[in-house]
Symmetry: C2
DNA sequence: ATGTCTTTGTGAACGCGTGCACAAAGATGG
DNA sequence: CCATCTTTGTGCACGCGTTCACAAAGACAT
């Protein structure tokens, strides 16, 4: 994962592998686009291309759901949209709360992708009293004091944490205590939760660091032949293969801010 | 993944598995926290707990970097911070451009996590002429017309796409043509890029859908006892025992335990 | 009906990632 | 110097995920 999960020993799902579950939304999106263009059927090859995966993988993924295709023809788009939606639990409406209405929280509240696919922003919660009552994305922000009440009144089971790292664990604990069993965490912290609670993490700086690793590797690919052990601060390869990438700032010593 | 990856057949990295690379930022963060508390050394057990992983996994991960620990003692925090930073390419400063300064783009521009760890927001780019010149997070927004010039003048190799889905591929193409070789994509689309370009995807609605799947499974866990095989069509009551799977989008109250 | 053609569904092989369990290595104390 | 204790580094086995390759299944034409 790209993004990763926290804990959760094995895929206890009745049959559907976790990797497959992670791809179902991808297929669903591609299928929805086809549906809007009124395409009646699609082959595994075409759909796989649209979703950016291998066609054999796609077929195997679908085989876990059942035999929904027709040999020689392909898959019925509408039917498949329904089956995947049902499998993912999107035929019901999930109320979601967003905690931490800073820049990111506000962006999430405004994000259309929520409402469009089975999710509904039930409430926005922030610890800042000055935010209370202020509407964001048409929804008034409520104060953290009422968190438990909000969760219970709306039957919320999915929470989004967009607070600073320092507040995340505390918010998480309160969400879980109030009945939330799935958490999407944007704060750069490792959350600890009791068994039975799912946490998924989205971490911008981690993603960038992974890109930086590959970027560095690309830049030093020709020169790094037998690096052996640890050439310390020597590996300053220049000249990348083709495009003019070049070093941003020539030589930077071991800078490691904060 | 939270998140997934796009393409990239195999780990061509000289020795370091992709899964390990994805965890290095996690270790680095935990180590940085220890460093700030002036902790001199840390055992694999302690560090693993802080990073939320298995200690054996952590030791194996570090073994790919070299033998940086001392048996009977543990790892030197400062030294390890440096080694991981170097491995990830964070000892140099990576200029990054953010394209699409909507709610999300602005949030990213304001996100402290960028600057704090080796990344620098070199420019903000948006297609809306009304945005041009307007400062966001202290940086004036520039128009898309100047994209190529900005990339080249700043030696940017990492780009962040925070545009609407419809514009993403076009922006991506221009970024790549201008020399960008790593892309962090927030737009809900599958980007196609030439070989040699890395794409990482962060998709909020996909993460939520995965959570919804597990949430639904949890809700129907008690009733799902003897499922047997998949009864093809008329597939009813497989897993989601209680919840009304038929209702497209009624006001199904999100029933939740306790 | 029969044959051909397309596409699914899946058995099987392979490779990666994970976790156990332990030997090797060094610290520490007598 | 030797014994003991702690913790690393890793060989090994196992399970998951991916991919290949092909037989089975259906559509379609003759």
């Amino acid at each position: 994962m790209a993004t990763g999960r926290t804990h959760r020993p094995a895929t206890r799902s009745r049959g559907i592998p976790e990797a497959t579950v992670a791809r179902l939304p991808l297929y669903l999106r591609a299928l929805t686009a086809l549906s809007e263009r009124s395409v009646p059927t699609v082959s595994s090859e075409e759909l796989a291309a649209a979703a950016g995966v291998n066609s054999a993988k796609l077929r195997k993924d679908f085989s876990y759901l059942g035999s929904y295709g027709t040999r020689g023809v392909g898959y019925d788009v509408e039917y498949l949209v329904y089956q995947i939606s049902r499998e993912l639990g999107l035929t019901q409406d999930w109320p979601v709360v967003i905690v931490g209405i800073g820049n990111l929280g506000a962006a999430l509240a405004n994000y259309g992708g929520f409402a469009s696919r089975g999710f509904r922003v039930a409430a926005l919660i922030d610890a800042d009293p000055a935010m209370a009552g202020k509407p964001v994305a048409g929804i008034p922000v409520q104060h953290t004091d009422d968190l438990e009440k909000i969760i219970k009144n709306n039957g919320v089971s999915i929470g989004v944490i967009a607070t600073p790292a320092g507040a995340a664990q505390q918010v998480c604990d309160r969400l879980v205590a109030a009945g939330v069993t799935s958490i999407l965490n944007f704060a750069p912290t490792v959350l600890s939760v009791p068994d039975g609670v799912d946490v998924r993490k989205v971490d911008l700086s981690i993603e960038l660091q992974i890109l930086a690793f590959h970027e560095q590797r690309k830049a030093g690919e020709e020169t790094a032949v037998g690096d052996g052990a640890l050439p310390a601060a020597t590996g300053r390869g220049v000249a990348a293969g083709d495009s003019a990438d070049q070093g941003p700032d020539g030589d930077v010593p071991a800078v490691m801010p904060a």
